[in-house]
Amino acid sequence: MNDRFLPIETPISTGNSSQNVLESAVDAWFLQNGWSVFDFQREVWAAYARGGSGLIHSATGSGKTLAAWLAAVIAHTGRPGETLPLTVLWITPMRALAQDTRLALEKPIRDMNLPWTVGSRTGDTTSAERARQAKRMPSVLITTPESLSLMLTQADAREQLRHLQCVVVDEWHEMIGNKRGVQVELALARLRRWRPQLRSWGLSATLGNISEAMAVMMGTVDGGHIIEGVCDRKIVIDTLLPSGAEPFPWAGHLGFTMLGEVCDEIEATAKVGGSTLVFTNTRSQAELWYQALLAAKPDWAGAIALHHGSLDRDVRSYVEAGLKSGMLMAVIATSSLDLGVDFSPVARVLQIGSPKGVARLLQRAGRSGHAPGQVSRVTCVPTHAFEFVESLAAQRAASAGKIEARRPVTIPLDVLVQHLVTVALAGKDDTKGFEYQALLDEIRSTHAFAELAETDFDWALDFVTRGGKALHAYAEYRKVEQRDGRYLVEDAAIARRHRMAIGTIVSDASMDIRYMNGARLGHVEESFVARLSPGDAFTFAGKTLELIRVREMTAYVKPAKKIKNLVPQWAGGKMPLSTQLADSVRDVLEDIRQSRAGDAVPPEIAVIERLFRVQRAMSRIPSRDELLIEQIETREGYHLYFYPFAGRHVHTGLAALFGFRLGQLTPATFSFTVNDYGFELLSETPFVLSRRLLEGLFSSDELLASVLQSLNAAELSKRHFREIARVAGLIFTGFPGAGKSNKQLQATSGLIFDVFAQWDRDNPLLAQSTREVLERELEFQRLESVLEAMRKQRLTIIRSDRPTPFAFPLMVARLREKLSTESLSDRIARMQAVFEKVA
């Protein structure tokens, strides 16, 4: 503890002079820690001191937290001899981060002996601490969007927040693209109405749409500052190259070709005292790599660990602690470790498989090299040949600053429905609930609902008061009631149930996995357990387990003796290649197309040179303004391969659309397979492919209707409706530990969807479900622009007697669904051997 810099006994008055005193204290504190203040931090402090708001962004953690936090510390001095009242709200997307944030905020105020207290309020906060907070709030409260919304429903919320000066929204890039962001926007709108001079500062990773990101946070508040956090660290993206000369597989199956090289990297990093973070794209891939690494290096047991979102919180905390203390040599992780504070011992970051997006790769790079002056580096580890191209493409896109945007959500009616009930619960006595116009104005002051039509607002209000059009005659329904011009919730049971359900995070229905003695390992999707029978083995948490029985929502397991593995098929593994990265892949292909024998090529391309040689020999490498279609006939039938390079979501939509349109012209049934580069249409019956027919395929006529019909969109919407039903409060998830009595109120979202589809077809929530499926699962806008580009591209149709290297991964992906694993890898090897002879 050092109190030299801020003699607390000196009377502090508000005003510039005391701020100057504080700022020099802060300067000295930086010096004392061996740092110096960045210009951007001073910029934030100055803007803050003038009452300004804004967004601080940088690619990696570079002092954004201190920029925002010390701005508040310098500006708000409080009354002499008193701790500050609740002055700053600090919103973090993950409650697991709350503790680390707390430590980060506490350090400067403790070192400088400032009159601030730090507290947190999340789902993890104990009731004892809540009670303490009810008596006296800390000066800065760290909270999550869900806990904040809940806090705003409390009777004395406005009273407690009457001294609030600033809201900091941490990791805003994580929330802007989803409904949690909308929840934050609505909370900010509420707080700004209570405290019109309120400042708001967002902290964000670099995004392709950073000014939009700020506008979303600011709502109708004018004049925010966009401040870029410079950092003294360089970011390097490179590729792990194979040490041997054997040909690299053209299609990914398990992708362990580089296992030896990965072991060497981990070992080399450990020798210089650093840890390695090995990122994968899916949880099942993380499990597989963990097992493979242990099989290769049995003596690493205990020195490497696994981290993903399905593992029990305790297990994850243990792994995080091991990483922080440098105890662990390596951790194999998914996006579960993308967020969070710094793990200083991490010296090396590896990305297994496709990077998928530029921003994501940069974020992962930032996990290494935390000491000042060090380099942040991420190394891509390809699992099949095309991923060398992706790695190179990611490097180019990153150095050209082509970073993905995250588009904000607009007018989500399910969130509106939830918010209306939330606000109807709030307040006390004659300020309980809300008035029509005041709330409409408040909601419209957010970016998400700026364009909210009065008819939509009226519908949502009608839905929560009278159950919507369909329910007007039904007396037994009541949620929000109207009294003296105010809308409010009177029923205590409804209020309690709503408080339990506030939030927009919807996870898949999951089942606990426990040993017979009750020890919890984590959870997996219910649908996965449903496919298992007692005695079946599967890999989870790095262990091979045998299912004993399923009881209630728990799968009981024991360590398996069998070797047969069945890895959980977790959802969320099918992320598409981003537009930016896909674009860059086409640039790399163009370079390869134009290169001549003997030209110097990047090492990534040299490794897979053979693939392109064979592709040229059998077909061609398409130029940017060319659409390559390959036509092949095999024993299985008639194959068409298209290569738009637009990511798997768009390819799914295109494949279904083309199959549908072809099926209308010729009486053939098509099955399809997609990947990030293209898609395959397969028919058992022959058909004639003419240019005129192809042009018909690319037509924009009745595009939306055809896509919806071809993909059985009704089924997709029904599946997606789960999220909407949960957010809009149509599913009651039950109280923890309340037991069976609530079971009678449980129904699946599928059932609720059916009831609405049959009896209340025009319910806007159904339309919202379809809209969200189009946006998220099909990227419909991207599909439209890809189709438009296709209409302008030159068509090249190549007939071949065998699948080309471009077609090969698609063919393998289709076979994978049909064959067992062993025979598949044998078969792939055989097929590739045939190709190699062509080159």
């Binding site: 369909a470 329910l471 005659a473 409804i494 029978s533 099955s671 009678q744 129904a747 009831v755 669904e817």
Partner: protein, 223 residues
Amino acid sequence: MHSMLPIEVAGESLLLHPEKAVYWPRESTLFVADIHFGKVAAFRAAGLPLPPGSTSAALDRLDRAVADAAAQRIVFLGDFLHNRDARAKQTFTCFARWRSERAALDITLVRGNHDAKAGDPPGDWRIDCMDEGELVGPFCLAHHPEPDRRGYVLAGHIHPAIRLQGRASDGLRLPCFWFGQSVAVLPAFGEFTGTYTVKPKAGDRVFVTADGRVVEVSGLIGR
């Protein structure tokens, strides 16, 4: 008119109706399980705004099955009322009117777990209520599908559904009639009820309803 599928069970011939009911011609009796009457109303009472319509739709379907079979008696194999909140006014008025217009129909309820909590229906509905275990011919009437050595059990409770494997990942899950060695489980009659996927044993017979017909799928079930 829907066509019913004849099958032989415990030496008796039964007809499976596509509206998820079983008809026993010798006794002119229609068996219906798990109608969960008033479930939607119970949800509304708890503040979940579900649209109405399913109550009268269920009664329309019941009418169709009764008419097709020319049944004189309905036996509900448990879970007739969903819970106490199902006793909402509109729901009750709706059923009372339906009942008064079908005075000649004989109705029996074998009490299930939901009925135990919801209570017996009002007396003027003239529904005979009894506990599980009543023997009629070779059949033992029940709600819970547990074997009873005194007879072949007709039951409901689990809302059985069967998963049929299509091409690749194109699986299909449908409510089903499940006739085992000593127990038959009827599909849930109520629409807003959900299902549970069952795994029949070899020798069991399984039927699904599709496009207004009952189809046997016993041979399609891969284990």
